[in-house]
């Protein structure tokens, strides 16, 4: 099999299995959260039932064009994930991920209801909060592996280049990894950073972003979120990509930790969300990048 075939297979698998996995993770999330609150909780397939139900419902809109933005939100989310799982350029992945989120924000703005408006503003603040750390992760990965390409980063640990001593990605980029986990909370829409749209707080202002969407549009948002979940967990996977038997449990552990945080933390104010994310970005992101730039000898101590 040549490289193109492998890439196309990866794309196909992502398109089909991405939402399946996202849906199952959503179900597991609800189940575990319920158990943490000593409830029984819905079936694992509950997100799928919700999705199917939303497809049956009437699609009420304030303005028809709001659905247009949701469509592009979904499209760019699928595109972003496709790019990532085909082993594409991480910079492009981050940019199109941002573009997808911006389409969602525009959709919420278009509906022009106070709740939706507030949700859109909060989503913008969240994007502002996580974006620096995300970019630093990409920059850091480039400094470690010398490439923006997902394929190269995955292959980095495996290259048996004994002449050049290098430590595994996870060790060289430990700070980046921690920073990524921190902003993952925002991306997965979990407490304490579920400001614009929360998984669990259904009656509150924080449903803001999706307030004016119903029926098919809401189903499309759910679907896009499943793709998004798989994509951001893929980013976590990237740090340990060389050995999948370690990477998969770590990704699941990270997901579990997010659930723990979700169920134990109360929501913070937006100032706190932005400040803390930026502080994390400075300490772990910039810190790690500086280490990579100036203290090579330290890193070589970890080396093979």
């Amino acid at each position: 099999m040549n490289e193109t075939t492998v890439k196309l297979i990866a794309l196909g698998l992502y398109l089909v299995l991405g939402p399946v996995l996202g849906c199952l993770l959503g179900g597991i999330d609800r189940k575990i959260s319920a158990r943490m609150q000593s409830r029984i909780g819905p079936p694992i397939l509950q997100p799928w039932y919700d999705f199917r139900k939303l497809l049956l419902k009437e699609n009420l809109v304030v303005r028809r064009s709001q659905n247009f933005y949701v469509f592009f939100y979904l499209l760019f989310m699928v595109f972003t994930g496709g790019l990532f799982f085909m082993g594409g350029d991480l910079l492009l992945v981050v940019f199109s991920l941002t573009l997808a989120s911006i389409f969602m924000v525009l959709g919420a703005y278009k509906a022009s209801s106070p709740y939706s408006f507030l949700g859109a503003e909060r989503e913008l603040l969240q994007i502002m909060a996580y974006e620096p750390m995300l970019l630093l992760v990409i920059v850091g990965l480039y400094m470690i592996t010398g490439s923006f390409s997902v394929t190269d980063i995955l292959a980095f640990d495996c290259t048996a280049d004994t002449a050049k001593i290098h430590a595994p990605v996870i060790l060289q980029g430990a700070g980046l990894f921690l920073g990524l986990i921190y902003i993952l909370t925002i991306k997965l829409r979990k407490s304490p950073f579920d400001l614009s749209s929360s998984h669990h707080a259904h009656q509150e202002l924080v449903r803001g972003l999706t307030t004016e969407f119903s029926g098919r549009a809401m189903a499309a948002i759910e679907l896009a979120h499943w793709y998004e979940t798989v994509l951001v967990l893929g980013l976590v996977y990237l740090f340990l990509g060389s050995c999948w038997w370690l990477a998969v449990p770590v990704v699941l552990l990270v997901f579990f930790l997010e659930l723990v945080a979700d169920n134990t933390c109360s929501r913070v104010k937006w100032q706190m969300a932005v400040k803390s994310s930026w502080i994390m970005a400075v300490i772990f992101g910039v810190g790690n990048v500086l280490v990579l730039q100036y203290w090579k000898p330290i890193l070589q101590m970890f080396g093979k």
Partner: protein
Amino acid sequence: MSHLVKSPWIIHYDASSCNGCDIEVLACLTPMYDVERFGIVNTGNPKHADIFLITGSVNEQTRSVVKNIYEQMPEPKVVVAIGICASSGGIFRECYNVAGGVDKVIPVDVFVPGCAARPESIIDGVVQALGILEKRHAYQQSVENSIGQLIISQAEESDLPEIMSVQKTAYQSEAELYNDPSLPPLQQTLEQLREAFKTQILFKAVINGKVVGSIRGYTAEGTGHISRLSVHPYFQSKGIGKKLVSAIEARLTEAKRFEIFTWHKSSRNLELYGKLGYREFKTDQLNSAINRVYLEKAK
């Protein structure tokens, strides 16, 4: 069972409850009852909701709010009135500012009794509401799917006036053909049709909820008598007549042969029946100008 039943999202509104029922509604979400195990989610947003739970009687202040929430919910939706106040107004019924039960403002599907309603009965009410939600969805679906489609079914008594008017319109062309406005189908009154309905079987052809054609028949001594095939002029030559004849033939199960008649100049009818396998076997006179042509077909 569609997925509607597995994922009911609820919106709860307190129209002017004493909070007794509200607390019981929220109690359903606690670990004790945990309605989320049935996929029930308490949303705060009418646009995401399928079931509208209302507690308390409706007063003049909340009347417009209740209406507004109801209108913002996407179809299909159901309304559950929780507690005696929401059902009838309860002890506040006579108050000058109280409109009464919720059904005074919006259509209510399920009434949950009690003061306050117990969580068990609230859950029971929601489960009953799910049945209604499912039915409503099925109806909506059938209406949507039938747009532009021909549905042939047995007529009910309420269809008779419409069938009558289509029959009168359809037989106009025959009247012109023979230059005789006194043809029996044009003379028939609604009362006579009602009489016929008691002894005969009527089939109707419906498009978009409007009757466009009909046929009737009965079985006597092993012979299925089929008569009064009528199709509205706009819908003729579209195969509707053929389908109506086959439908009634299939319904007259006891018949061993079928008989049908038309008038001698009605070449289109003769051609149609010929195609359906009917052969002419006798003629008699309706009046001096018109001959009746009888056709038959073995089963």
